[in-house]
């Protein structure tokens, strides 16, 4: 299998505080990779390093490299707009814009220069269908996205990401604000999406990691303690700290 993202010797500092230490990780193409670990261990920080959302935070410094398709996203010539177009992100709190459902989806394509109404219509329908939301909203595309339920909002946000045609999708605890039924629908969607996309998902929920992911990385205090196939990591961890964590002894 081809490696989509290759992280080498990556360190991140918030001012003086080192939040990520010597991260080494190869993320495979068209697989779901789960990041697990206790709160504050650096999962979100790592995820946000991949699309350089951390650039928005003053005082952040990094060393090492994160290569996507062989190109270091931290190199001088990396275009941030292009990077974020290729690497979509879904946040913990569903964050639809206070616009109509249609305008939420069309926002990204419009930013990247698509103006043609027919083309936008087509993108809206295709991505909402991909996100299993079309049937629920096709009659109210022009009403506010804030009227949707939490689960629908999160699927809308995923459709919005799909609309800019990324090849990597990063998800930071996307189900943590959802009820069990919405969570189940979201997990189905994630499994469905990995046919076409490389997905990296942070989750607090170990059953969820086990259900949706192919590979799992266990983070602790800014380091990756163990990284292997999800099945193996959960049934036969090689590090005792991983075992302690997955058996619920801390975290």
């Amino acid at each position: 299998m081809a490696d989509k993202i290759v992280v080498h010797d990556f360190n991140l500092y918030y001012g003086e505080n080192q939040a990520l230490k010597d991260i080494e990780l190869n993320i495979e193409e068209k697989k779901v990779t789960a990041l697990i670990g206790p709160s504050g261990c650096g999962k979100s920080t790592f995820l946000r390093s991949i699309n350089r959302m951390n650039d928005l935070i003053p005082g952040v410094r990094t060393t090492g490299s994160i290569k996507i398709d062989g190109k270091n996203v931290y190199s001088e010539e990396q275009d941030l707009v292009l990077l974020r177009k290729h690497v979509g992100m879904v946040f913990q709190q569903p964050n639809p814009f206070p616009l109509s459902i249609y305008d939420n989806i069309a926002y990204g394509p419009r930013i990247h220069g698509i103006k043609d109404r027919k083309k936008l219509d087509e993108i809206v329908e295709r991505t909402l269908t991909q996100a299993n939301l079309w049937d629920e909203v096709k009659d109210r595309l022009h009403s506010s996205a804030l009227g949707l339920s939490g689960g629908q909002q999160q699927r809308l946000v995923i459709a919005r990401v799909l609309a800019v045609q990324p090849d990597v999708i990063l998800m930071d605890e996307p189900a943590s604000a959802l009820d069990p039924i919405s969570t189940e629908r979201l997990e189905e969607l994630i499994i469905q999406l990995k046919e076409e996309y490389t997905i990296v998902i942070v989750t607090h929920n170990m059953q969820q990691a086990a259900r949706v992911s192919d590979m799992t990385a266990f983070f602790l205090n800014g380091e990756i303690i163990e990284y292997s196939e999800t099945n193996r990591l959960f049934t036969n961890p090689s590090d005792s700290r991983t075992e302690d964590y997955i058996s619920g002894r801390f975290g």
């Binding site: 707009v81 177009k85 964050n95 990204g108 919005r160």
Partner: protein, 313 residues
């Protein structure tokens, strides 16, 4: 009485549940007193408001009812009280045009400053610009008028000729005066947009400018408009500063450089010089009524827009 179970509440002290079940008479008394106090003060407010409304309305419509002035006389442009011509249209238009122009000048400046303070240089903005706007709000209007009189009027006179007094001077003074109102309401509006909305936009590859122009301004439009209308209402009701620079002539307000009048400037200039009960004096009340009606319209507009904003968020 049952024995208390814990040994902390041994003697006469009643248990918490007992205390909650029968509130002490003292609490009831304070409660009653508080209720009476708030009841009375809200009624005082309502009575004052309605007496004012009734007073101004009755005073304002009196000259028309008594037949001293006809509507066509009042809404004409000939102002010559000694010949019984009370045409106030120039002043009504003067008030409207000067405040609309001031809002048009201030809106882009104020919203731009707010964007700078919240989106572009939040640190610098909060440390320097925010206190600055607060100070600007606190400066009394006579000071604005005075500055207008000593700086802006001579400047216009030198640059464009004429007297310097007039619509342009009024617009400049008023737009400076209402700028802080527009800035602070716009800042509040931008700051109320949650951070994850901005991040959602950046994560889709939007630049900062795209995020500002396509998302932030668009979603905060009702709030921004509220600030602009509030500023316009303030300009509309302002008397002193305007009267000091506007020239106080009865010309129609269609030229930037000729002296004109507004409803407020006519009222403040003449209320002391007219005889109580005279037609002239009564017509000033009619102008006050027009001011009142316009202000009410502004308030209705603002309420409607804030409601729309709250629905969107």
């Amino acid at each position: 009485m049952a024995q208390p179970l814990s040994n902390e509440t041994v003697e006469s002290k009643p248990s918490l549940s007992e205390e909650l079940r029968k509130p002490l008479p003292k609490i009831l008394q304070t409660e009653r007193r508080g209720r009476i106090l708030t009841f009375v003060s809200s009624w005082v407010l309502i009575v004052i408001l309605f007496s004012l409304l009734i007073f101004i309305t009755s005073k304002g419509i009196a000259p028309f009812i008594k037949g001293e002035v006809s509507f066509s006389n009042f809404f004409s442009t000939t102002w010559n009280p000694s010949a019984n011509a009370y045409g106030s249209l120039s002043f009504i238009l003067g008030s409207l045009i000067v405040s609309v122009c001031a809002a048009l000048v201030s809106a882009p400046l104020g919203i731009g400053a707010a964007i700078f303070m919240t989106e572009i240089a939040p640190n610098w903005g909060r440390k320097i610009l925010q206190p600055t706007t607060e100070i600007l709000v606190g400066i009394p209007s006579v000071v604005y008028g005075f500055v207008g009189l000593t700086v802006i009027v001579p400047f216009i006179r030198e640059q464009f000729g004429g007297l310097g007094f007039g619509l342009l001077a009024g617009v400049i003074v008023l737009s400076i005066m209402i700028l802080p109102t527009i800035v602070s309401i716009s800042v509040d509006t931008f700051q109320s947009i949650p951070r994850h909305i901005r991040e959602g936009s950046y994560a889709l590859g939007a630049t900062r400018w795209q995020t500002i122009s396509r998302l932030l301004i668009r979603t905060s439009l009702p709030g921004l408009m509220t600030g602009v209308v509030l500023g316009m209402a303030r300009a509309f009701g302002e008397a002193l500063a305007v009267q000091m620079v506007i020239g106080n002539s009865t010309n129609l307000p269609f030229d930037l450089f000729t002296p004109i009048s507004t409803l407020t400037s006519i009222i403040t200039l003449n209320m002391g010089n007219t005889v109580q009960g005279s037609t002239y004096n009564s017509v000033l009340w009619s102008m006050a009524l027009i001011l009142l009606i316009m202000t009410l319209l502004f308030i209705v507009l603002i309420r409607w827009m804030t409601k729309r904003r709250d629905q969107l968020q």
